[in-house]
């Protein structure tokens, strides 16, 4: 299903600082409803108060709270642009273009495992919510550096079983997500993964080895976010260079030419 693109001004209703480096922005459109979007789609955010940047920042749609007409964006403080987003205040205005790209496949069974790392957990919240609303029972595997870096745990735990790994062993299984036994358990048929590249590659390699269907969400550097500039390309087995912003950001690993 193709959703129409919109450019809208949103008001920052709340900026929840999650630890030192993350912000959960809860946004409400000045007019109308948050446009319909699919899990895994993203938004292009115009960064206010940032003198040295001018391109929009692509941010995954984390959640659409229909009851409160809110769009949630989870932002990691990575550079100047995202820092300006993390420093927004309640009442500030944010110009957002959405929804963009193609999201995750919704499998109509209970065999989906949603694997996220760091800020990459963002689109999995919306995906998990959608699956639950459709009567499925998704499971989550969330990895982080430390217990303090695990994001939105309380949200995820309302949607299904949550498995955890931490690099330092401060909670859950000690190590990276691929160390967790749930990844290779018999009742997992589909993986939806979003996180840092090394994590996605490791999950993709394991999925391929185990014959599990797997989708990953890429975050190639992009300018326009709508298939015009052709900057964010990923090399695919079937079509060569394609735009991550329009053909992705979610790809089945079988399309990618990753050496895994």
């Amino acid at each position: 299903m193709e959703y129409k693109k919109h450019i809208l001004d949103f008001k920052v209703v709340q900026n929840q600082h999650l630890g030192m480096n993350y912000s959960l922005l809860m946004l409400k459109p000045f007019e109308g409803e948050v446009p319909p979007s699919a899990p895994g789609q993203f938004a292009q955010v115009l960064v206010p108060n940032s003198k040295r940047t001018f391109l929009r920042r692509p941010i995954s749609i984390c959640n659409i709270d229909r009851d409160n007409n809110q769009l949630w964006l989870l932002v990691r403080r990575a550079g100047e642009g995202t820092a300006a987003l993390c420093d927004l205040h309640e009442g500030d205005t944010l110009n957002v273009m959405l929804p963009l790209g193609h999201g995750f496949t919704l499998h109509r069974d209970d065999a989906m495992l949603l694997v996220g790392g760091g800020v990459g957990v963002a689109p999995l919240l919306m995906l998990g919510k959608e699956l639950k609303e459709q009567g499925m029972q998704p499971q989550f595997l969330l990895g982080a550096r430390t217990k303090a870096d695990l994001l939105l745990l309380d949200q995820f735990s309302t949607l299904g079983k949550v498995h955890i790994t931490t690099d330092d062993g401060s909670t859950g299984v000690h190590g990276v997500v691929t160390k967790h036994p749930v990844l290779t358990s018999d009742n997992i048929a589909h993986i939806a993964c979003c996180g840092p590249m090394p994590m996605m590659r490791a999950v993709a390699a394991l999925a391929r080895q185990q014959g599990i269907d797997c989708e990953v969400s890429l975050e190639n550097l992009m300018a326009c976010g709508m298939g015009a500039c052709l900057c964010c390309v990923e090399d695919t087995a079937d079509a060569g260079n394609v735009c991550v912003c329009t053909e992705g950001p979610v790809f089945n690993i079988n399309r990618l030419k990753w050496q895994i």
Binding site: L46, F54, V233
Partner: protein, 303 residues
């Protein structure tokens, strides 16, 4: 309402605002967000004789008030354009202009010949200025002889309005401009991107797969305005100004410097509605200054 129309060769544009090649796809990508029929023209993505995969990723990096790109003319080739894309966009009520690129003179000619019979292609823009391809592209645009060889060959192959897009990466852009005019161009567009480079200092590697790339965005605007001003004084064919135009004010700046029309490029990435807003701004500007035609802005700079 002021008269916004301008004339480029035999081509009348309803207003002076066009989209720059490679920044607006084929227009369709923006159809949810703007009414394409309001535009003066759409200059579609650089089109080559054969399909091109372009350069490897990474192809872009943001720089202060600008960006570097190294796309490398990725496109599906002129046959795909004619057989598929053209059919989808030909009935838009705006000038469809095709940017033509190639590695050899024969390549340019082949694309022009393929486009020549299409009555809804309003003009071609011959791109002798792409900095991101190994062969052809900018190498033609940096010498008078190279530029003339492409332009005179295309002139024979294409009967309609022919715009030639110049590179700023030369010592004296007016020499090239004069040579291109003499070879039969109906109009010039300048500037294409400036050759630039950025380094990831932590990893000590280039930010782009091709090491160097083309710099665009507001950081290049003053240089582009200067070049348009110099060229417009030199030639007697219309000049189309581009280079870092972010809004209507910037568009007017280029016209005052001597441009007959403008192209908006990188700004489309920041504000996909920048073109339409610029058209409204120009109309308001004319009203505010008591002018009744956009043509009164062309070269109206007081010195």
């Amino acid at each position: 309402m002021a008269d916004l129309s301008v004339q480029i060769g035999n081509l009348k544009l309803k207003n002076p605002v066009m989209t720059a090649s490679g920044t607006f796809g084929y227009g369709e990508e923006f159809a949810d967000l703007i009414d394409l029929n309001q535009l003066g023209g759409i200059i579609v993505k650089g089109t080559t004789r054969m399909p091109r995969q372009g350069n490897p990723y990474p192809r872009m990096v943001e720089t202060p008030s600008g960006m570097l790109n190294a796309v490398g003319l990725q496109n599906k080739g002129v046959d795909h354009f004619v057989e598929h894309i053209y059919l989808r966009i030909k009935d838009l009520d705006t000038a469809i202009i095709v940017n033509v690129s190639g590695s050899t003179v024969d390549d340019y000619v082949a694309v022009c010949e393929r486009l020549n019979p299409l009555d809804k292609v309003a003009a071609v823009e011959i791109n002798i200025s792409c900095p991101n391809v190994k062969q052809g592209g900018m190498t033609f645009g940096t010498t008078c002889a190279g530029a003339q060889s492409v332009v005179s060959a295309c002139r024979k192959a294409y009967d309609g309005t022919m715009i030639v897009k110049l590179t700023p990466n030369v010592t004296d852009v007016t020499e090239i401009a004069r040579a291109v005019q003499d070879a039969g161009a109906d109009a010039l567009s300048l500037t294409n991107t400036f050759l630039g480079m950025a380094i990831d200092v932590e990893r000590q590697v280039p930010c782009l797969s091709t090491i160097t790339g083309g710099l665009s965005g507001p950081c290049i605007r003053p240089i582009a305005v200067r070049m348009v001003w110099q060229v417009a004084k030199t030639v007697n064919i219309p000049v189309i100004g581009l280079g870092g135009i972010m809004n209507g004010r910037d568009a007017v700046e280029f016209m005052l410097a001597g441009a007959t029309a403008v192209q908006i490029g990188t700004a489309n990435f920041v504000d996909p509605q920048a073109t339409v807003k610029a058209i409204h701004y120009i109309n308001d500007y004319l009203n505010r200054h008591g002018l009744d035609s956009a043509t009164q802005l062309i070269g109206a700079l007081k010195t």
